[in-house]
Subunit: 372 residues, 2 copies
């Protein structure tokens, strides 16, 4: 699924070749859509254009996992090759993801995103470079709040512009709405867990962490994009249910892999500092396992270190060691393997053409074995 | 237009009586809409419901100016009395306004809204009361970012649920989209002006301040709601142009009045601290006039005081004095009077029935003479 793999595979594998063609149409449609938005901002004032520029820079990157899942959901339900509705809904999903990332990075105090400054850092940097007045960090966050809002509004504008298939009372629209509400609720539970977690029913921590994972990520990143593409192509209830039976465990495995990378990932590959999730105080499923399995002393060290922005490399190394020794890393890997197996066995039986099955298999494989 | 006036006027004036009936339908529809959203959040987790609760508490208050303008825009274009599309679009506009306020209050560091804690303060207070872990102020802002995002998504969900009249490629949808993009661009220009303003082409400060006022407020608060209601009822291009000729100057007068109240308003009536706009560093049209007309010493005092969160009551009183003595208050009042006159003279000729004209007259009067 990574952008480096696709060109190699294309030409030999018809699914990869079609996916490459979709990627190109998606990129062109995103440029076209944002280009017309640029005109609206220019009408307001040339000085407002950098707000869209920040959205544009972020949205043109990324692996396009959500757009691609949406595309194969569409194709698997009989949608035509490179169909315009699946291109435009891909743009909508990628813009929604960009909006979520912009606000997430403020919430998580992340200074980098895809190896570049996050949007709030970008605006704080502009402030510093130009030596503007007042608080540059607050200006950065404020501008990023507005950039995220703009991006969220644009994602919906793109989705509506799919036309009748995404109109009021359609299945696709209902899924799009549910996706938005669920991910915001899931993100709220995530930040709530960070501040409440340490003292709140520790025996239920794993249950809570798995619920958060499901709503803030698994459904929104994997299940909903596939279902939205399918619904746009008029998928039956039966096919949509089969899509979910494949995609929800895949989504859970995907996010569990993300949680492992957030602690054990290589900064050179992830583009984020080592152990970033620890500094952010993320109470992931793996952390919940570690807290329930570690010794008292180790549990105290985890609790004391989590959420400390100034956590040093030695402290990160020590926490990694504890998480490994507690067995939490192995338990998480086992859960990833279990969910992955469930997803692949469902995929093998899925009532879709072989080209779609092949494409979904590649995407699924990349989602759970990735290193960034 | 205030909620206190409406009941008195109803019963004698048919426009006021109809408007009261609309308010009731609007309130009921908002409850119904948010009640169904609550079920979505309950499916995620009971613990996520407070996110919607914060949106609900805010959205059920307010003067409903945008919903009412939308209603009379609808009626003036021949829409039926208490028509469901105008009720639901009113809900969408009020939710959009709530979303903007939630994020604005983070950006402006406003602790109060409508006499109650702002949403980020509300969540920070929950954190403090429950003695949760980590940084309560950051938790408050983060939760409010998510609450605003949810509210923004819900405003669009409500707008789409108006049905075919608000579907893709309709005039109403195009206006709704433009409203969102323009207000976010306008808000960005507003925060940019606060940090760039002091050193940037002072001779153009008034021009910039008037452009910001137009996009961040006048169009979105007054012009667009009236036009959206009209478009939903199938208003002609001619009628929509006439609506704008009335509503844009009215919107400018409305925001200029807001700027005067932000410096000279009575905290008992506005529900916000005295001189709040000065502490927030708002570079309003009135401030731009003051900077261009004041003595060098006075200009330095304004520049030094603007944007200082710790500005005391004496400093506020001194800045008020300077703004008065520079003639900026009088110039602003003259501009309000000029725009108001233009709005009322256009309204007198507007091709709408007399009941709509009467209702718009009351709304316009309240918008420019209000004290809160």
């Amino acid at each position: 699924m990574s952008q480096a793999q696709a060109p190699t595979a294309a030409g030999t594998d018809p699914a990869a070749s079609e996916q490459d063609a979709y990627r190109k149409k998606l990129a062109a449609d995103l440029e076209d859509f944002l280009g017309r938005q640029r005109e609206v901002l220019e009408d307001v004032s040339e000085e407002s254009v950098p707000l869209l520029g920040a959205v544009h820079s972020l949205a043109k990157g990324g692996k396009r996992m959500r757009a691609l899942l949406n595309y194969w959901g569409w194709r698997g339900a009989g949608g035509d090759v490179l169909g315009a509705p699946a291109v435009r809904s891909g743009v909508a999903l990628e813009l929604f993801q960009s909006a979520a990332l912009i606000h997430d990075d403020i919430i998580d105090r992340s200074d980098t995103r895809r190896g570049a400054p996050s949007v709030h850092r970008h605006f704080a940097n502009r402030h510093a470079e130009a030596a503007w007045f007042l608080d540059g960090s607050h200006f950065g966050s404020s501008a990023a709040i507005l950039a995220g809002d703009l991006c969220l509004a644009l994602s919906e504008e793109a989705f509506t512009s799919v036309g009748d298939r995404a109109g009021y009372a359609t299945r696709a629209r209902a899924l799009f709405n549910r996706m938005r509400t669920e991910v915001m609720a899931g993100q709220y539970l995530d930040i709530l867990e960070e501040v409440v977690g340490p003292g709140h029913e520790p025996e239920r921590a794993v249950v809570r962490a798995r619920n958060i994972l499901r709503y803030k990520s698994a459904k929104y990143s994997i299940e909903h994009p596939l279902a939205i593409g399918g619904a746009l192509a008029g998928a039956s209830d039966e096919l949509l249910a089969a899509y979910s039976a494949f995609s929800l465990p895949l989504g859970e495995a995907f996010q569990l892999r993300d949680d492992v990378l957030g602690v054990f990932g290589d900064p050179e590959v992830t583009g984020k500092p080592a152990g970033d999730d620890l500094r952010e105080g993320k109470r992931t499923v793996m952390i919940a396992y570690a807290l329930s399995a570690a010794s008292d002393a180790a549990r105290r060290e985890i609790t004391a270190g989590l959420g400390r922005p100034d956590l040093g490399d030695d402290a990160v190394a020590s926490l990694r060691q504890i998480i490994k020794e507690s067995g939490a890393l192995a338990t998480t890997e086992a859960l990833i393997a279990e969910h992955t197996e469930q997803a692949f066995s469902t995929l093998a039986e899925l009532a879709v053409d072989e080209q779609t099955r092949s494409a979904l298999k590649s995407l699924a494989h990349a989602a759970v074995t990735r290193t960034a």
